[in-house]
Subunit: 482 residues, 2 copies
């Protein structure tokens, strides 16, 4: 039977780029990217002046029918849109939890997207899926989990925490799970309560346990809450410990929590999204001792491993718990692996098609080795401690949260002023520091009072930038007093 009759329609090749066109587009982007990254130290740590007006100007309700030159589009990004933002890649970004943005990760994302491989199913790209599995196993090793542990990379900490809750719900609660209760300190990241809501738990299922003066979960109150709930016929099933809160950097007493959970037969989950990779350092291992006894732990490589945004990781002690919560049998998919060396991510995680996100971790770790990461993390611990010591020497400044890792909180105190006036003074100091643009800090509310935070986590942040923060803070204090 002949198939020689030509079909009655032309080939549309208008989306296909020649090698020359690809080269040219990469050149245009690379020139701008390299200029941008190389000049980061000189850029403001944040600049959102008139950014909202720019956003409004950029509103386009209808998709364009015809194209525009790549230069124009890249210039719009690099000269207008990107500069008008929090400079989350800058050495001066000490706000929230800083990201990093390792350059080899960006190149890895370029490789992954251009080759467009599919790693959700092992059979579709065995060697590439294996590289991602290696990354997960390295993280398990860093967390002190055994070689039999399992896990996967998620798009960030929120979804990694969500999957931990889903695995625990499935492992520890009956089908009607609405009497289940989970516990976490009042300092816990809101994504844990959000994850519980997404997983179907009513708001009252999430018990907020008060924290102590160092913002650590109070174990006595946890024990009371669990006992009280059991008396009421509810079903305590999970405790979340914090390994570095977003608010003030607190690390709960994880060893004590592990003991408590073992005694009460509760799932012990640790949110180490911010703090986890400090386990590569001696001080981090000491601060987070007990984490290795968790049933599940969340680490964010886009925080403590300096990767670009889009990389979270869930580790579980028993990979069967992930499988039971996620696996399905499907006719249109290839067969799944039975060999425990190999992993089908779609069987242990909520996603099927998704990007090859493991490459952004694999390439920089392989290129640099862990050594430079460890040394950088040690340096960030030093910098936070140094900042705290320096701040402590300033009259009228109080350390609200000592750096348990690389995050500290402090405030200006004025005993003569009303608490609201002091909050207001701190807000003015924060604004004055940020106005200078060398560093960007944020505030939060701790024990009811507005406080300032310094979080050191970018690999680009060194002593010179912390010194700049202290200088600008001194200037801001002088201004605020005047």
């Amino acid at each position: 039977m002949s198939s020689r009759v030509p079909p009655p329609f032309p080939a549309d090749t208008s989306l296909e780029l020649s090698a020359r066109e690809m080269e040219r587009l990469v050149r245009l982007a690379t020139d701008r990217i390299v200029d941008h990254v190389a000049s980061l130290p000189a850029q403001p740590a944040a600049d959102t002046d008139s950014a909202e007006a720019l956003a409004r100007e950029l509103i386009e309700r209808d998709p364009p029918e015809t194209g525009a030159p790549a230069e124009e589009l890249l210039d719009l990004l690099f000269t207008r849109a990107i500069p008008k933002s929090f400079n989350t890649a800058s050495p001066g970004y000490l706000a929230y939890i800083p990201g990093g943005g390792l350059f080899p990760s960006a190149v890895a994302d370029f490789v992954a997207s251009a080759t467009n491989r599919y790693v959700g199913v092992f059979a579709a790209a065995p060697a590439l899926a294996q590289l991602e599995t290696n990354v997960v196993r390295w993280f398990a090793r860093i967390a002190g989990f055994p070689a039999t542990a399992g896990g996967f990379l998620a798009s960030g900490g929120s979804l990694a925490n969500f999957s931990a809750l889903v695995a625990a719900r499935r492992a520890r609660l009956p089908e009607n799970f609405l009497s289940g209760v989970l516990y976490a300190s009042d300092q816990t990241h809101h994504c844990v309560a959000k994850a519980a809501a997404l997983a179907g738990f009513p708001a009252r299922s999430v018990r907020e346990v008060p924290s102590d003066e160092a913002f650590r979960l109070r174990l006595d109150l946890l024990a009371e809450a669990v006992a009280g709930d059991r008396r009421k016929g509810l079903t305590p099933f999970l405790v979340t410990g914090n390994a570095g809160t977003t608010n003030t950097g607190a690390v709960d007493d994880l060893a004590a929590l592990a003991d408590f959970c073992a005694g009460e037969r509760l799932w012990f989950h640790v949110d180490a999204a911010y703090g986890g990779f400090f386990l590569m350092t001696g001080r981090g291992r000491q601060a987070m001792a007990g984490l290795e006894r968790a049933d599940s732990v969340v680490l964010d490589p886009h925080k403590g491993l300096f990767l670009p945004y889009g990389a979270g990781c869930l580790l579980v002690k028993d990979p069967g718990t992930l499988r039971r919560a996620h696996a399905s049998h499907v006719d249109y998919l290839p067969g799944m692996q039975r060999d425990p060396d190999f992993v089908d991510f779609c069987e242990i995680s909520p996603e099927l098609s998704r990007s090859f996100r493991g490459l952004a971790a694999w390439l920089p770790i392989k290129m640099h080795g862990l050594g430079p990461f460890r040394r950088n993390l040690d340096e960030k611990l030093d910098l936070a401690r140094w900042a705290a010591e320096e701040l402590r020497r300033r009259p009228g400044v109080e350390i609200v949260a000592e750096p348990q890792l690389s995050l500290l909180a402090f405030r200006v105190v004025r005993p003569a002023l009303a608490p609201e006036a002091v909050d207001d003074l701190n807000r003015r100091v924060l604004a004055a520091v940020n106005r200078r643009g060398r560093v960007h800090l944020t505030g939060t509310v701790a024990k009811g009072r507005f406080v300032l935070r310094i979080c050191v986590l970018s690999f680009r942040t060194h002593a010179d930038r912390i010194r700049a923060a202290l200088e600008d803070l001194d200037a801001a204090l002088r201004e605020a007093v005047e």
Copy 2:
């Protein structure tokens, strides 16, 4: 107060690349990427021979302490790991639902990761968040949703479907939602049942409604099921319609489903992950008429818009439903937007930190305009119809599923043979086609029988490759008969 005392530790700059080192790394990667992409037409459509052995060889249980040269690592990727996989970027990849891998999207991912901006909160990067919001609004326009609709980009269809279910659960069911029931045809992608399980629904809450001979949901049986469940005291709340099933490409009668859902006051969700972007074509709009009446719809730009993996989209008619399911108040975050022109993605989606995934859609749409996408999609519809016509002319070949969009299913029939033997014959034919490497097809089970599928969805696939598929199929048929 002086901060001049130098801190007692050195700066670790070992993760910082100079402009020259960045340029060099990009050059190394680009040379390999451009060679790879430019030679895609000549590469096999899949090659996993000894890929498992390679994966085993690549197992590394311990993270490396020291680094390795980038050339070596990139060579491992490009000469060994990437070739040993399903070539999901190839013009010959007609398996599952093909992805694309537009080159400008890969460059956009490079830009997004290198500049590492954070778009989950509008205030952090207003202009960039706006570009992603524009993309979502363009997709809403394509779906025929009103300008007041809302939505967000997810990592893929699975999580987009999950968020649709969570929004519907919150909008339509009480806190104790376990009596809620959702409905979908037996052809529905398994991610819908998986999403229900993740959201806490027991397996019995997902009602699988039989499909008709064209694999479309049977409305009469849906009506019966809903009425029966109401009589039992259960709470029907959602129907999922398919706009292109993964199994055989079926499009449910969406207009009839919209009528039914309106009458029964059920949330009408459409999974258009595969089919949705065909709404840009006249034939697509005709096939999917009624989709615009859905409460929520999932589109996968990494399918019908040819983007690299990692791009799904959820659209909802009422953005308040997403907000009520996802928003939280948090002290340590900046203020959220009240202006309806602006969107905080963290308030309407499960993620907080995540990659700037909108850029991978924005750049190619702006560079090319929608025209080339529309023409490409029209061409894919033509190619699937042409393939069906050609196959129909072959004696002993039966079209099992006509192409309602760009996916068809067929099988070799031999009335003299037992059904199991025919299944076996089809499996041999499939293996023989794939062995030739010019195209890669997959099979599935439809109405209890093993069938072959052709899904045309890569922008790189044109008539020459469909002709190759037909030739290789003819050769395989001859072989299988011998």
